[in-house]
């Protein structure tokens, strides 16, 4: 498989990479480049070079997972490129090929799929109050904990319709609507991507010594959710 050719099938690459002159303005404005050892200018350069070996290295690396997709680069590029969109094309291909499991940051995709991905399909929301567990979200503070422990009353107080029928904030999405979302996922490749993330991740979990007869691998998920080797940041 020609990796560059595969990337060009993603229209976000056509939108994101027209002709990069490697000026580095994207890197200057990039919040990720300030925090991580990350340089969107180099990403654009590698993809534009069509160097298959370097593109494969990128797809297996932590580097493509450092971007926050804020798209600040889009505004500033004098050529109208958008490295954030190049990243999205690279991440999609990395997941299709299973390369994402080769890096610590890439492996995190399973945790995101298990929470956000499954919320979308099962609840009709990306985020739901039940998943804002204080142990996983200490940053939400004592007020977040108070909200979590008193969800029904707090949400009712401010006019939400938590898990209720009809309209309103946090209403229960009708089952027939969730069925439509599931059919959309089925037809458009959403479930196929979920399946790839699960399959490649389980293979990786086994190779890293995790085991689970139910094939859910909660210890692996906890590991990828909390592990940081401390080598990602700009020194």
């Amino acid at each position: 498989m020609e990796l560059y050719q595969e990337l060009t099938k993603d229209i976000r690459l056509a939108e994101g990479l027209k002709s990069c002159m490697n000026c580095g303005v994207c890197t200057a404005i990039c919040p990720a480049a300030e925090f991580y050892d990350y340089d969107p200018r180099i990403i654009a350069g590698i993809v534009q070079s069509k160097d298959e070996k370097k593109i494969e290295e990128l797809l297996k690396s932590d580097v493509i997972w450092y971007c926050g997709e804020c798209m600040s680069c889009k505004t500033r590029c004098p050529r109208g490129n958008c490295p954030g969109l190049i990243i999205m094309a690279l991440r999609s291909l990395s997941q299709r090929l299973g390369y994402f499991t080769e890096s610590e940051k890439g492996r995190q995709q399973l945790a995101i799929k298990r929470v956000v991905g499954e919320n979308i399909v099962n609840k009709g929301y990306c985020i739901v109050p039940e998943t804002l567990v204080p142990e996983m979200h200490p940053e939400l503070g004592p007020v977040g904990e108070w909200i979590y422990e008193n969800k029904e009353e707090v949400y009712e107080r401010v006019g939400a319709n938590y898990n209720g029928e009809g309209v309103g904030a946090l209403r229960k999405i009708p089952q027939e609507s969730l069925d439509e979302i599931s059919r959309i996922f089925e037809l458009t490749g959403g479930f196929d991507l979920f399946e790839k993330i699960e399959t490649f991740s389980k293979t990786k979990a086994k190779s890293m010594g995790f085991s689970d007869p139910k094939e859910i691998y909660p210890d692996y998920v906890n590991h990828i959710f909390t592990t940081n080797n401390g080598k990602h940041n700009r020194q």
Binding site: E69, W146, F194
Partner: protein, 353 residues
């Protein structure tokens, strides 16, 4: 400069915002963290401005957080968005009012993609028809909910009870406005003032008596970064970006921060608490934090709505210092009361210092 010249110079930064008859699509994050803000927006439109705004219970997430954390393919999100448009079309509406900046960016990205790649539009029409039997029209007008508040800011102020003025000094309150990256960084023409001079929140602040703080990192990201917050071991990215903004705004002594995006106020509120816990550092007056508001909360306060109806008890960083400056009357005893007036417990600690 002559008036005609001014209009010509600034015409690229103007945006058409529909006047009435909106189809409302909610925000996942705003519903979880600031549900009172969505309630307030609908109340202002319906009860103060007498506008028609419709919500269909069958609309869902746009799946944007999944898309921008790369677990939802482009074709999938396009078809989910097409379904939202189909619900709008079926209900007889043409103007979309969007509660979320991530969604707003996505609606714009997808509509622009369909303009540039017509084959993609046909593909998505076929997917939606096959999956749901539905058909759709592309909205004639896509406005973020803040665009609508901005459009009617003078009408709102005409009904005011309070202003963004310090009642003790008589001076305008100093407000930091945070726009949210996906509002106009991707498609500048879709936002009021574009990416370079975003005026959607600044217009509200100035019309309601306040003064906008112009500080070096005004346009920097809050640090959400999707996967950079969603995964616990990445959250250093998120807090570091917010900290960069706090350090930059601190010398200007802001009285409050107001946000456009649903996620940004959550991060700018909660990361102040985290920074205090980690480093003992606070950025507001008297060792307190800087109050962080959504624009709906700011509008609600100006209109004299009860702060606890707005949901300001759901913030970690106390907003009471701002109430006191504005002269807002409130009952601290009812801060943690439920609908029936009885106390719903009490957070173990409030504030960030």
């Amino acid at each position: 400069m002559k008036q005609e010249g001014k209009i010509k110079v600034w015409q690229d930064y103007q945006k058409e915002i529909a006047d009435d008859h909106y189809f409302y699509v909610r925000s996942c994050i705003r519903q979880n963290f600031f549900p009172g803000s969505e309630q307030t927006f609908l109340k202002i439109l319906r009860e103060e401005l007498n506008k028609d705004i419709y919500e269909n219970p069958h609309h869902t997430t746009c799946s944007g957080i999944g898309y921008h954390s790369d677990v939802v393919p482009f074709e999938t999100i396009q078809t989910i968005v097409a379904r939202q448009f189909a619900l709008m079309t079926e209900a007889g509406y043409q103007n979309l009012a969007v509660s979320c900046i991530t969604s707003f960016g996505i609606y714009n990205e997808i509509i622009e993609t369909w303009k540039e790649f017509p084959a993609e539009l046909e593909k998505i029409r076929n997917y939606l028809k096959a999956a749901t039997g539905r058909e759709f029209e592309i909205p004639q007008n896509v406005a973020h909910a803040s665009d609508i508040v901005y459009k009617f800011r003078e009408e709102i102020y005409a009904r005011k009870k309070y202003s963004l003025i310090n009642q003790q000094t008589g001076k305008p309150l100093k407000i930091v406005e945070h726009i949210g990256c996906h509002y106009s960084k991707m498609f500048p023409s879709k936002g009021v003032g574009g990416a370079e001079f975003p005026y959607v929140l600044a217009g509200m602040v100035e019309s309601w008596g306040g003064e906008v703080v112009d500080y070096p990192e005004r346009r920097h990201c809050c640090g959400f970064g999707f996967r950079q917050y969603l995964v616990m071991s990445n959250r250093g990215y998120s807090v570091s970006n917010s900290k960069k903004k706090f350090e930059s705004m601190e010398p200007f002594k802001p009285d409050a921060i107001v946000c456009n995006c649903p996620g940004c106020p959550m991060f700018l509120d909660r990361w102040q608490y985290v920074i205090e816990e980690m480093e003992g550092k606070t950025y507001g007056e008297n060792g307190q934090g800087i109050p962080v508001l959504t624009y709906e909360e700011m509008a609600g306060l100006v209109l004299g709505y009860n702060p606890w109806d707005l949901g300001l008890q759901m913030h970690q960083t106390n907003c009471e210092p701002l109430f006191d400056k504005m002269g807002i009357e409130y009952d601290p005893e009812l801060k943690y009361a439920g609908k029936d007036g009885n106390l719903i417990g009490h957070p173990s600690m409030v504030g960030c210092g």
